[in-house]
């Protein structure tokens, strides 16, 4: 039986009427047309579908959408826009951290969660935080560099990525 779910997605209130076997991934892509969130396995094994749930990283392919009543979901579409990129997005573009771009949304969301809670992570902390996001193109180096660059810039700008909740 379908259930009514009220949640906020990228700040907007949304109401959805969903079968309980719909994952958040499916709801985002098929019901809300937010296709920025990707999928590479649907089993929790790649990280491409990572979004933020109340600011913390979660795999949308393993999350039942009906569990999210009253929660806040942030996807890559809520991170920044072409005219006002998040420093992470800026750094990813600059350093070529998105090659095919398929892992990028998930990477960005994991990185955002990290910088929100730890504005000045060392390289190992970045590695650990992004260890659940596979990338087959970049060899990760440019991604690590981009997260570090974004962190440095955000520190200089004096505004850590919004205060963690």
């Amino acid at each position: 039986m379908k259930q009514l779910v009220r949640l906020r997605v990228n700040g907007d209130p949304r109401e959805l009427y969903l079968a309980p076997n719909k994952t958040l991934l499916e709801a985002l892509r098929e019901d809300l047309w937010l296709t920025g969130t990707k999928h590479g396995c649907e089993l929790g094994e790649c990280g491409a579908c990572t979004v933020l749930l109340d600011g913390r990283p979660a795999l949308s392919c393993l999350t039942l959408a009906v569990e999210l009543d009253g929660r806040e979901v942030t996807t890559v579409e809520g991170l920044g826009t072409p005219t006002s990129l998040h420093p992470l997005q800026e750094a990813f573009v600059e350093l070529g951290a998105a090659q095919c771009g398929y892992c990028t949304s998930g990477m960005l969301m994991s990185a955002k969660a990290l910088l929100d809670s730890n504005p000045a992570p060392g390289r190992d902390a970045v590695r650990n935080a992004l260890a659940g996001n596979l990338c087959r193109c970049t060899g990760y180096q440019s991604i690590l560099d981009a997260v570090e660059l974004a962190a440095t810039r955000m520190a200089v700008a004096g505004s850590p990525a919004e205060v963690p909740a």
Binding site: A19, P20, T23, G44, G132
Partner: protein, 325 residues
């Protein structure tokens, strides 16, 4: 896209509600906590669930309470990342924080719960596969079939207990509290597990794990080492939890070594007791390590070879014990 089968879903607001649904809906009901074990298994059609009973609204099951002096109580629904990063757990129950922090990936650990980890299904790479794959191989005892594909003459399923926190908690003498429609019971965590890949838990269908209690242990060091191919994602193909508590004179007062990934339940190495009463020595550690290697009987149903995993039991046990000194 791999999708979930159809099921009903309820999310009662409290424990009583959960227990009520479990007893009303009988066989087809299943508890869902973080869903990170259940959802992939359902997507692969490894079993069915008529109704999922979600715990997520039962807030009373979340949180870490107490101190190391009085003992710690951890709500069953506490996410693994909270446990891994809890300062008190890190300092006094290190094996647990290390184990919790090594489960799966960061984005899984925010959703995965302690109870879900302790109760997660046993693993077997003949079984953790989609339906067509298993059909091609031939069904096995755990689903639709009659024999075990790993060891066709085995009378029981040999799927492997693969959760990281169980050995750590057993090494720390943890106790589990379980609630059912008929009451509450508390048992030593080690008693929860059975050496059977299908019936791997000594737990009734309508029971809910509510809490894990950690007793005070005095001056203690503990650790958890995990063997796997990659530093992330992978289940343990061997996990070693070790704990050494010391008396005032430095002699070993109590010692535990518990292995995971090598049998259908966590395996304790009783020879660890031989460390007790003396100052720890390299020889004594080597003896425990050798005993562990002998007791480790891995089968060819996980990653890495059997010979290698068995041999590594010795190496990892010795290393884990040395880290506890």
């Amino acid at each position: 896209m791999l999708r979930l089968p159809k099921f009903d879903y309820v999310a009662p607001p409290d424990l009583a509600g959960v227990l009520g649904v479990l007893s009303d809906r009988g066989e087809g009901a299943r508890v869902i906590a973080g869903g990170t074990d259940l959802v992939p298994n359902l997507k692969r059609r490894q079993f069915e669930a008529a109704v999922l009973v979600s715990l997520h609204r039962v807030d009373s099951l979340r949180g870490v309470h107490g101190t190391h002096g009085s003992g710690l109580v951890i709500g069953a629904l506490t996410p693994l990342d909270v446990i891994a990063n809890h300062p008190h757990v890190q300092e006094h129950f290190r094996a647990l924080s290390e184990a919790a922090g090594l489960v799966a990936t960061p984005a899984i650990r925010t959703r995965a719960t302690l109870a879900g980890n302790l109760l997660a299904d046993t693993r077997c790479n003949y079984y953790d596969q989609t339906e067509p794959w298993r059909e091609s191989l031939g069904w096995c005892m755990k689903a639709q079939g009659t024999i075990c594909r790993v060891a066709p003459s085995s009378p029981r399923c040999l799927a492997v207990s693969s959760c990281d926190t169980a050995p750590a908690l057993i090494a720390l003498d943890a106790r589990a509290r379980l609630a059912s429609p008929t009451g509450v019971r508390e048992i030593a965590l080690r008693e929860l597990y059975r050496d059977d890949g299908i019936h791997y838990l000594d737990m009734a269908r309508d029971e809910v794990l509510t809490e894990i209690a950690l007793p005070p242990l005095g001056p203690t060091r503990s650790t958890y080492l995990k063997l796997r191919r990659r530093g992330s994602f992978d289940f343990p193909v061997l996990g070693v939890a070790a704990r050494v508590s010391r008396a005032a004179d430095g002699a070993v007062a109590d010692a535990r070594v518990v292995l995971t990934g090598i049998a259908s339940r966590p395996v304790e190495i009783p020879e660890a007791a031989k460390l007790v009463g003396a100052l720890p020595s390299d020889d004594a550690i080597a003896e425990v390590a050798r005993a562990a290697e002998q007791r480790a009987k891995p089968l060819d149903n996980t990653d890495l070879t059997i010979v290698y995993r068995k041999r590594m039991a010795r190496v990892y046990v010795a290393r884990a014990l040395r880290r506890c000194l």
